[in-house]
Amino acid sequence: MTAWSFLGSKTLRKDSLAKVSGALKFTNDLEVPGMLIGRIFRSPYAFADVKRINKERAERLGAVVITPDDVPQKLYNPRLVSVHEVTFKDHQVLTKRPRFVGDPIAAVAASSEELAQRALELLEVEFENIRKPILDPFEAMSPDAPPIHERIMKGDKWVEVKNNVGAELTYSEGDVDEAFKKADVVIERFFKTGRRYHMQLEPKAVLCVPHTDGSITIYTTTQTIHNTRILVSQIFDLPESKVNVVKVPIGGSFGSSIQTNVIVPIAVALCLKARKPVKIALTREEDMYDHVGFSMHFRIKAGATKEGFLIGGEFENIIDIGAHQVQPYPLLGTSLGWFVSLYKWRNIRYVGRAVYTNKVPGCAIRGYGAPEVTWAVETIVDELAEELKIDPLEFRLRNYVGKGDIFWGQGPTVRSVIKSDGVPELLKEGSELIGWSSRGRPEDKKGRFRRGIGVGRGFHTSGAGGPISGEVIDYSGAVLKVNEDGSIDYITALQDHGGGTLDAHVKIIAEALGVPPELINVVWSDTSTTPYDVCTHASRGTYVGGAAALKAAEIVKQKIFEYAVRVLGRVVNPEALKIRYDRELKQAVIYVEGNPDLKITLKELATIAWQRNWGTIAAVVTHRATSAPPSFTVWFVEVEVDTYTGKVRPVRVVAGADIGTVINKDLAEGQLHGGFAMGWGMAVAEDTPYNPTTGELLCRGFITDYKIVTAQDMPKVEDFKVLFAETYEPTGPFGAKGLGEAASNPVAAAVANAIANAIGVRFYELPITPDKILKALKERGEWFE
């Protein structure tokens, strides 16, 4: 292993003091003089049309009011990630055709929250064509179901929506039917996932400030400042140079702000009309009516030979997208990507449909379909192995997609070849730590409390880059400049969701230049001063953003060497120089190997360059990754099922991660702990059911009744082991890969498999709640009486 100066060591996070002291300002903490507070009038009906809006009484109160007639009549998609031709548009800034309870119809702005609330309540909105909500995607696809949207736009073209299917993707490889004929075992299963809410700590907020030259500045909760700028520019016909989006600290996201939040154009419209700054901050209950994750219905048919090789996989994927498209089209591609890149099916047939329902729009949620697909596939793979009487670990090793294989996790247009793979190592070490071989058979387990061990294996990509420009946009940029005292300013558009992505970048720069992290400043930048970055998503922050930072650091290093040659007179050329961190001087030193007298600190060099008018050492780069390597994770989970109450408790966890070089070990471990909590919630607790008549969320948006797990539900810290594989990704910055989503993707799978190992029951519908478990046990004739 390489001896790093900074990578892998524990350092204080740059934002930690501000965070723990409460000093850090999030969007809703921002205040500017003359600022108005905005509130959104949301549809009280799931499926209706607006007949008339009377805003007189609200305006008489002094509020600024906007209705659909006051905003650009354009359809848009809040998520700009796909190329234009496959971007599906059905959103309006404000709508007269609300399609879910919560759809924004009008908005008000007033000098205080209380006044804005009163104005909101004075709006008179009349509705017509009030229909019963369609809450089930299969009902929505039936021929007699009313259309939720009649036509939408795909790129610049109008398209008719048929059977409420908003987008579709099909794919096939080989001959699946023939493969199933040849297979010794064929299993077909139907799966259904919950529709989870992200429960990011910070409810979404936006502040829009107008300027006298017609330009605006936007502060908002977002994973992508550049796409926010582009979208606002498109909707309001403003040149991008007149829209500046400032990066503001974000209180977690998990995909909830992967798109430009729909409150942004509403705040912009209010701001342009009021000619005053306007802030909108969602309450928690509004936030839950703003976005949730997608729920997915799968049919998977899988065939294998008695030798233990998969030979066919058929995958039908119905995604309940809710009332509007937050670009589920690439999710149709990634779902397939997760499926084909988990195992070598050899023959594949896929159909994916994104179906409208009158529900809160679904957007990406950590893993972008991978936790769901992985749960289903890992269930079926376990079942196949059982049927074939092959150890499930061995079956996985024989069939998984690994080193040297073609990999396209992010969909058919994003292909590359796997170069680093820690799966065998993690399966072996993890299984030994958890005690896999002595996990026993469910039929032998007796008594009230039964324990079971399950495995879940998966991955996530590191970004969505590739050698060929496909349907997905993915590139980043960085600006790096050496200040006059040798300290460094690092400027990037890339957002840090709280996982410490930018601290990873700092370490990468520190490692490349020998400059200690405390001398590297991460500038809170904006769209005006940064090169484009698509978004912090797809677990690309470290791999793509870090590579951009490294690229800039390499350029800066060359310039440092050019300047150093001028000072260190006898050196023949810049190539003769090296740079390293000097632990005693606590700064970077430029030196010539074997010539201890030939050296200068970066601080001295930068000062000389300034005093002698040589100019600033700086670099601006843009970076497109030509690969999106998988970060593999292997989870072993031991659970205990209370067969009297159906409650499940995590007992022990072994989290194995292959993320290449580990840049921030404690933060990476933290991601895995958090990933487990999120996956556990997905497996046993989380869903957003609806009132079938009104289309209202049963929890009404209140966290009293949307429960996520807390530390109290987690295993003891000493029972949670983290393993990092000893791998090096040759395409990554210093050998690193991503982690954010891989950290969670196979958790639900491992939990479900552990429950099956404990009680011998498989569940095909998430979450696996106590009542489902109890019902299953009772049906089997087991009951404590």
Partner: protein, 306 residues
């Protein structure tokens, strides 16, 4: 099409109290009672606010007047004498948690305190508030019911002492009149046994109960001399399981005995489906909760009859 009713989500705003009301901070009980007598039905009494304020934000309640009791001294106490334990209505759950009296003498209530809410909620919420809010899921109710607790309610007209079994009338509905304030919970020590326990099942650790149960037993020569059983979240109010109690008194204090009679619970409870759980699950799990509480109570008596 009038069957589809509008969802009042535009009325809700949890960042503020989106309604207008007059606010009062009386500094004595007499002052508070005077106000209540005058304002009547249109006033609401505020203690910890962990239920009331939420309901106001949700627009489930829109009181014209809000009377904050927290400035009234001497309503926060836990005292024990030879006859009884008395707890002031403004005693917070954190106070209960720190009390040795609760911990040592009222173990079922102590279990409930430990299982209730988050630290933040326990710091704010009061015992009186939890009772007066009259949620079927109120964690304090099953333990207090098995201890046969009484509540003291006061108005300008005088004092009433109401057994808790007669206090809860429906979800959010109590025997409290609009001009009355609950000031004290009284537990007669003759009704208390260390052989008591509370258990609860919820979706996650920090949560309202899907169902809960408290059991109190007194033994004589291995025979159940006294049995009190109460459940939460399985009926419109917290309820006593009188059929099961009656069947168990005089039986040997053995778990197998208890098990035989658990089906009698179905007579005592009326669970419903809601966002937290199904009626079916509540019915099934109630039996387990009573069984578990019984086991825990027996163990607290030394597990002598196992």
């Amino acid at each position: 099409m009038s069957e589809v009713r509008p969802v009042p989500l535009n009325l809700r705003n949890s960042r503020i109290l989106p309604i207008r009301f007059e606010y009062y901070e009386p500094t004595s009980l007499d002052e508070a009672l005077e106000l209540l007598d005058k304002l009547g039905e249109e006033a609401k009494v505020l203690a910890g606010g962990t239920d009331l304020i939420v309901k106001m934000k949700m627009r489930a309640l829109e009181p014209k007047h809000l009377i904050n009791l927290k400035r009234i001294p001497n309503l926060n106490y836990i005292v024990s004498d030879s006859e009884s334990i008395r707890i002031g209505a403004l005693t917070t759950w954190s106070d209960l948690e720190k009390s040795d009296i609760v911990k040592n003498e009222l173990p079922a209530l102590y279990d409930a305190v430990k299982a209730m809410g988050s630290l933040q909620i326990r710091n704010m919420a009061t015992l009186g508030g939890n009772i007066c809010n009259a949620s079927p899921a109120a964690d304090s109710a099953p333990p207090l019911l098995v201890y046969d607790a009484k509540v003291k309610v006061v108005s300008k007209q005088g004092v009433r002492v109401i057994p808790l079994t007669e206090f809860f009338l429906g979800p959010g509905v109590t025997a409290l009149r609009s001009n009355e304030v609950l000031t004290e919970v009284v537990i007669d020590k003759h009704n208390v046994s260390v052989g008591s326990a509370f258990v609860k099942i919820s979706r996650v650790a920090t949560d309202l109960a899907i169902a809960s149960a408290a059991v109190m037993i007194k033994l004589k020569d291995g025979i159940l001399e006294d049995v009190k059983i109460a459940l939460g979240s399985v009926a419109p109010t917290p309820v006593r399981a009188k059929s099961l109690e009656a069947a168990l008194v005089g039986r040997p204090a053995k778990l197998e005995e208890v098990k035989q009679y658990l089906n009698l619970l179905e007579k005592d409870i009326k669970p419903i489906d809601d966002v937290r759980g199904t009626a079916w699950y509540r019915r099934e799990v109630s039996k387990v909760l009573v069984y578990d509480a019984f086991l825990k109570a027996l163990n607290r008596l030394g597990g002598c009859s196992l």
